[in-house]
Amino acid sequence: MAKKRGVVSASNPQKNAAEMATPVHAKLVLEGALDIAGAAELRERLLQALDGKQSVVVDAANVERVDTAALQVLTAFFKDAVAQNMDVRWQECSQVFKDAARLLGLHDTLAIH
């Protein structure tokens, strides 16, 4: 399978800060296959985002596949973020991603509509 796995890029917060106006926020791009194989990596990325204490915009427009493990990691992230009063928003979600979240009953917690 030649598809890219997991989270591929999140742009550098400093660069974002230089280019964009306040409020400062980090952007997280999720794409390709989000699955158990990439879940550890995804968790690392999300932990970094939590440490940044900035608001986060998540782009899941190009997620082609998502499984329970990945959704679970994201759910934990959202819960923690809400607990820390961080602002997390979706820029866009692929249909696959939305459907999976809905199937597991996680779409409200993940604030996907």
Partner: protein, 709 residues
């Protein structure tokens, strides 16, 4: 995305058959009342995978049947049930039954459902019988596969699903399972993530979530369970019909059922529970696919070809093969380099190189042949079961001893030797071993022994079947033979000759005919089959002590040790195993019989002379017997002298089938390609004798046989 499921089915069936063999051998070792956890677990796992695969590939009869077996096994595994002889016997029968089902699945066609139904009823009865053994009314939550409501259709189901933490790591994905559920009807999911830790403490492969779902739609409990079949022992799963429609057989979800009612719209998103509605996309397309049984047209032919077409090869063998090819490539490049700048002084080097090439080729050939070699334990494995069954049947006590199970032989030979071996072992059980009281009378231990032994000897594999039973009564055989007119009265026969009579068609010494052996259609077939493989079978026996049958087989059918002979311009190959001796003809020993045949007096026997040039209508060097050589061969228990012009080398030849490349020819078993590129035909000794005997009268052939000489 169209995936060819057929290829996986084949693998599934092969693996299941292996699993069944495994189950069987462990079941046979299981003593009633034992708590051998390893064995029970192995048996359980085998049943579990067969069930799971069966459901996946749409063999619902297999998965349903195995499910009951598995449930029983699970109770035994959990210590809720004792291992009884009754259970072991039932399991063994179930193994046979599933084996049949798999054979049917493989070959297509209809299986005998009555047997499985009956067996399943027995298993169910057992399942219910010692209910008192366990506190709960139901063995396992949701394990009511056999209960009548299995097939009942409810329009609303409550599903409580709590995966064990390790479930995701085994490759099972809840998203996928729920997607399949959603295809059955309208699915409402409510997740519980009370146990979900903070991201910092989260193990990414552990599952912390659990779900409660309601499924609205016309489907059966079975449809739902099919989805969860692979994770059954990796989760807590409770499926109940919604109480509004049907009385629930559930144990503990009644108190929750009111909460389970889907709430339309979005209710207040609490931290712990959210209701979701997912529309049914393609209702019930999946189960209908899964249920269609593979009932195909070409039953008969496919079953006939049931001999397995794939082979498992030890990785070591492949590695050594690759090494060998590497060597060959090196040698080849050395030779080609030598060829580029060749002068006569390097002749020695060229010779060395060619010698090396020869060595490499031979080694490579041997390695390739070894790939087809599998240990004889594959053929031996069926015997413990057979002995077990036959012991029950005859009321005899027999201990089976196996040795040399790791002796390897060609897969094709193995497949063909199975039935003859079964025959021989059955005979040993039926005629050989006596009943316990008779044995006690004879001062022997009550338990008899049947010993199967295999070993290599020269280029052959030798299989010995030894029993310590009554032995073969030579007088009785002789009497029977005289009665049947096989032997003339008053003739002295050696012990070996008498034993040889056992292999005559239609011969049986059993006083009464049983369905195991004694109809006299055994031993001659055994010998014929073994001879067809280029092997021999002998018997040695001592009255009161037991008998020993020795089967000798070539290691492989693809290569043969041959004697090259020349007749005129043609080269023929005579299999070395069938050659007794070669000699020069002395005219004084030749007797012609009334223009029909010529006999050669070889010591105390008369053997017919077969002039090969006549048999094959070719022009020889000389038609005179004295100028040629006589090769004495033996085939089908008959000797004959083949007249050839010259003996050439002995060499191993690779057998090419004449039937696939040309057509079947009487008297020839195949062909091979010689070193100079010409084709040489391999003689089928028995066939040649038969062909030539077409010209000899019946009476003469009996004399020629030497039986009465």
């Amino acid at each position: 995305m169209a995936i060819d499921m057929e290829q996986f089915k084949v693998t599934y069936i092969e693996e299941s058959l292996e699993g069944l063999d495994n189950m069987e051998s462990h079941l046979l070792n299981l003593e009633p009342g034992s708590r051998d956890e390893d064995a029970i677990n192995t048996i359980f796992r085998a049943a579990h995978s067969i069930k799971g695969g069966g459901a996946t590939f749409g063999f619902s009869n297999i998965s349903e049947f195995t499910h009951v077996v598995e449930t029983l096994l699970d109770q035994i595994r959990n210590g809720e049930r004792e291992v009884t002889q009754q259970a072991i016997d039932l399991f063994l029968e179930s193994v046979d039954c599933v084996r049949d089902m798999l054979a049917t699945a493989q070959g297509g066609g209809q299986s005998d459902a009555s047997r499985s139904t009956e067996l399943k009823a027995q298993l169910d009865a057992l399942l219910v019988s010692d209910e008192n053994f366990q506190p709960d009314a139901h063995p396992m939550p949701g394990d009511s596969q056999a209960s009548p409501d299995e097939q009942s259709i409810a329009s609303e189901w409550n599903i409580r699903f709590k995966p064990f933490p390790g479930m995701l790591a085994t490759g099972n994905d809840v998203v996928r399972m729920f997607r399949e559920l959603a295809e059955l009807g309208e699915l409402h999911t409510k997740v519980n993530f009370a146990e979900l830790p903070a991201l910092t403490d989260l193990g990414v492969e552990d599952c912390y979530l659990s779900w409660e779902a309601t499924l609205k739609g016309q489907c059966t409990l079975e449809d739902i369970k099919e989805i969860f079949v692979w994770v059954e022992d990796e989760c807590e799963l409770v499926i109940t019909a919604a109480p509004s429609l049907e009385s629930s057989d559930s144990i503990d979800s009644k108190d929750r059922s009111t909460d389970d009612k889907p709430v339309s719209g979005i209710n207040g998103a609490s931290d712990h529970g959210v209701n979701v509605t997912t529309a049914a996309a393609r209702p019930s397309s999946l189960p209908s696919e899964n249920k269609s049984k593979p009932q195909n047209k070409t039953t008969a032919e496919r079953r006939a070809n049931a001999e397995s077409s794939s082979i498992r090869v030890d990785i070591d063998k492949i590695d050594s093969l690759i090494n060998m090819v590497g060597e060959l490539v090196i040698t080849q490049s050395m030779l080609s380099q030598l060829g580029e700048e060749f002068d006569i002084e390097r002749l020695e080097k060229l010779r060395d190189g060619l010698g090396q090439l020869e060595r490499n080729t031979r080694e490579l050939q041997e390695s390739v042949m070894r790939i087809r070699m599998i240990p004889i334990s594959f053929a031996f494995n069926r015997f413990p079961r057979m002995i077990h069954d036959l012991c029950n049947k005859f009321g005899k006590k027999v201990q089976l001893k196996l040795s040399g199970e790791s002796t390897e032989l060609d897969k094709t030979v193995m497949e063909k030797i199975g039935d003859p071996l079964v025959h021989l072992v059955r005979n040993a059980m039926d005629h050989g071993i006596e009943t316990p009281d008779k044995r006690a009378e004879a001062g022997k231990p009550e338990t008899g022994t049947v010993h199967l032994n295999a070993f290599h000897q020269g280029g052959n594999i030798v299989i010995e079947i030894t029993d310590d039973g009554a032995g073969i009564n030579a007088d009785k055989i002789l009497k029977k033979a005289i009665q049947r007119g096989l032997v003339e009265e008053g003739i002295e026969l050696s012990q070996a000759r008498i034993h040889d009579l056992l292999f005559q068609p239609g011969f049986s010494t059993a006083d009464e005919i049983t369905d195991v052996s004694g109809r006299g259609v055994g031993m001659d077939v055994v010998r014929k089959n073994i001879q067809a493989l280029g092997g021999t079978v002998d018997v040695q026996s001592t009255i009161g002590k037991g008998s020993k049958f020795t089967v000798r087989l070539p290691l492989t059918l693809a290569i043969l040790d041959g004697q090259l002979v020349r007749v005129g311009d043609h080269t023929y190959i005579i299999p070395l195993v069938s050659i007794v001796e070669s000699l020069q003809v002395h005219n004084k020993n030749v007797n012609a019989i009334a223009g029909k045949a010529e006999l050669y007096k070889l010591r105390d026997e008369y053997i017919p002379i077969v002039r090969l040039y006549e048999a094959f209508h070719i022009e020889p060097d000389s038609r005179s017997l004295e100028n040629g050589l006589l090769v004495v061969v033996e085939g089908d228990g008959q000797k004959a002298g083949l007249l050839v012009d010259d003996l050439l080398a002995q060499q191993q030849v690779v057998i090419k089938s004449l039937e696939t490349n040309f057509r079947r020819v009487d008297g020839l078993s195949g062909a091979t390609i010689l070193g100079d590129g010409t084709v040489a035909l391999i003689l089928d000794v028995a066939g040649v004798i038969r062909v030539s005997q077409g010209r000899i009268s019946h009476h003469d052939s009996i004399n020629a046989n030497g039986v009465a000489a």
